[in-house]
């Protein structure tokens, strides 16, 4: 018989602490994502193909052309952090579709009827996108080793790259979830994702240094969050002059916090 009383959100000894329970729930949402990806890793492999093509084809061709001035580093080394940033952005900007999918399936409603707090669910989902981004990072960095692209390697730098990747994933998946809360359908979400990704990519410093951009594009690059992601990764991976890791982290943390708050406000819309 199930005669034990139902478990209330705050009547359990070990998880009585609400802050602990909040982060336990965040971790559970991340765990759910990891378990899904472990059972079906095809998506991760497929997602790895695009950055490989950029580095192998675009990177090698432009490296030979020497059309883009990259100072003392090779164009391939200059491009690698840009492609990593592109991968993080592209994989995260479509992440809101998974929320709409879960809503359409009914899974989202069922999760929201458990004692999990909505801000914990949102943070968990934003961090879950970073798991996919870290996977992209591993693929790109392994490829750079195979292609003998000269990058700066140290334990501290790798930890820094992981941290920056998580920040990028959190921001862009958060942005995607805000869009999902506003437009609510997968078809529109795909369309908006396509419209956003290319301008974000080409108006950032992923493919070319800010110095060679015309003034109007330079202004856009300055307000484009992807530029800060690229700059941070470039500082860590090739340590070029003119990069500002601390500023990049501050901008990404500030922008992610803002997006998180926006998500907390807009999330009830998606449940309607």
């Amino acid at each position: 018989m199930l005669h034990e009383p139902a478990v209330q959100p705050n009547d359990s000894g070990k998880y009585g602490n609400q802050i602990f329970l909040f982060f336990f729930h965040v971790w559970t949402i991340i765990e759910m994502e990891v378990r899904k990806l472990r059972q079906d890793p095809t998506e991760l492999v497929m997602r790895g193909i695009q950055p490989v093509l950029w580095l192998l084809i675009f990177g090698q061709a432009f490296s030979r052309l020497r059309a883009i001035p990259t100072g003392s580093v090779s164009y391939e080394a200059f491009l690698t952090p840009g492609i990593l940033a592109q991968s993080i952005t592209f994989i995260s900007i479509f992440y809101g579709i998974t929320i709409i999918w879960d809503r359409d399936l009914g899974l989202l409603q069922k999760i929201m009827v458990t004692p999990i707090r909505r801000p914990a669910f949102i943070l968990g989902k934003m961090l879950s996108a970073s798991i996919r981004s870290i996977n992209q990072g591993v693929i790109i960095l392994l490829l750079s080793v195979v292609m003998r692209i000269p990058l700066e390697w140290s334990a501290g730098r790798i930890i820094g790259v992981i941290f920056t990747t998580i920040l990028g994933g959190v921001f862009f998946s958060g942005l995607s979830m805000v869009i999902a809360s506003l437009i609510k359908t997968r078809e529109r979400m795909m369309g908006i994702g396509q419209v956003i990704t290319m301008p974000l990519f080409f108006s950032s410093s992923a493919l070319y240094p800010v110095q060679i951009m015309p003034d109007w594009l330079r202004i856009i690059a300055t307000i484009n969050p992807m530029s800060y992601l690229v700059d941070g990764l470039r500082n860590l991976l090739i340590n070029t002059a003119g990069t500002h890791l601390f500023l990049d982290w501050c901008v990404l943390i500030g922008a992610s916090s803002l997006i998180y708050l926006l998500n907390c406000l807009l999330f009830p819309r998606i449940l309607r």
């Binding site: 329970l21 559970t28 765990e31 759910m32 059972q39 399936l105 899974l107 009827v113 449940l271």
Partner: protein, 268 residues
């Protein structure tokens, strides 16, 4: 069933844009009772359930579930109820065990409790042998049983079932009925379900409320409903037509139709 009221609904109201989805409804559900909300598409059944499970805030009115107000203490409500939505609510990429494990964590159960309850729920739902298979290999009936299993992991006092047998074949439907009846009789669980199927409401529910256009048109036992039409020999479908209107419903939209059909396809 006893006289303790587990669910108290008072003047509950919800509107979307210019449509009044639920318009000032009142009802009570007693402890250990199976109560059915039936009605055509767009009658307001699912919106009512969404408000009672705290997914949607009401525009007006109040409901108290297990002593917790849905307006003032939604977290208390969520800790003491289970909910199986109309749509599919398990993740096909994970195994049955993993689906239960994740939900036991969302309910904040301790490690030892988690293993104990998952084992118990697998036993109740008869899914022990399939526990470590990916859910996408399950039949429609097994998926529904797993969904019910997820919803009872916290040993809820009230279980909400939104169209629990939609998209299932007659054999799977009867199996689900047996499980719902078992939960009510053996576990003394209060069950509130919505359905389109009159025979389902009659088989499972001690009292039935027929909703139409956001209001409760009539409420009572199946016998009382028949008698209220003036024809004690009327079938339940006639009762439904009498109160909900014989015409095909104009409510619901393309998204609702698409969701229902997708659920039916995935289960079937």
């Amino acid at each position: 069933m006893n006289e303790v009221k587990t669910v108290l609904v008072n003047n509950l109201t919800k509107g979307f844009d210019n449509i009044m989805a639920v318009s000032g409804i009142n009802f009570e559900v007693y402890c250990g009772e199976c109560f059915g909300l039936i009605g055509p598409n767009g009658a307001g059944k699912s919106t009512t359930i969404k408000m009672l499970t705290t997914l949607l805030p009401p525009d007006d009115g109040e409901a108290v579930i297990n002593g917790y107000s849905i307006v003032k203490n939604p977290a208390g409500v969520r800790g003491s109820i289970g909910y199986v939505p109309q749509l599919l609510s398990v993740d096909g990429a994970m195994t049955g065990y993993e689906n239960l494990l994740v939900f036991s964590k969302l309910y904040g159960l301790k490690r030892k409790q988690r293993e104990e309850r998952i084992k118990r729920v697998l036993d109740i739902t008869g899914l022990e042998d399939a526990a470590h298979r990916q859910v996408k290999t399950y039949s429609g009936g097994m998926v529904r049983r797993l969904e019910i299993g997820q919803a009872i992991l916290n040993y809820p006092q009230v279980l909400f079932l939104d169209e629990p047998t939609v998209g299932l074949d007659p054999v799977a439907r009867k199996t689900i009925w047996k499980h719902i009846e078992k939960l009510r009789c053996e576990q003394n669980m209060t069950i509130l379900l919505t359905t389109h199927y009159m025979e389902e409401a009659e088989a499972l529910c001690s009292r039935i409320a027929i909703m139409n256009k956001g209001k409760i048109a009539v409420m009572g036992t199946a016998r009382e409903l028949r008698e209220s039409t003036g024809n004690p020999h009327a079938g339940m479908d006639d009762v439904f037509a009498y109160y909900a209107g014989a015409l095909e419903s104009q409510e619901g939209d393309l998204r609702d139709a698409s969701r229902t059909r997708r659920t039916a396809k995935r289960l079937g």
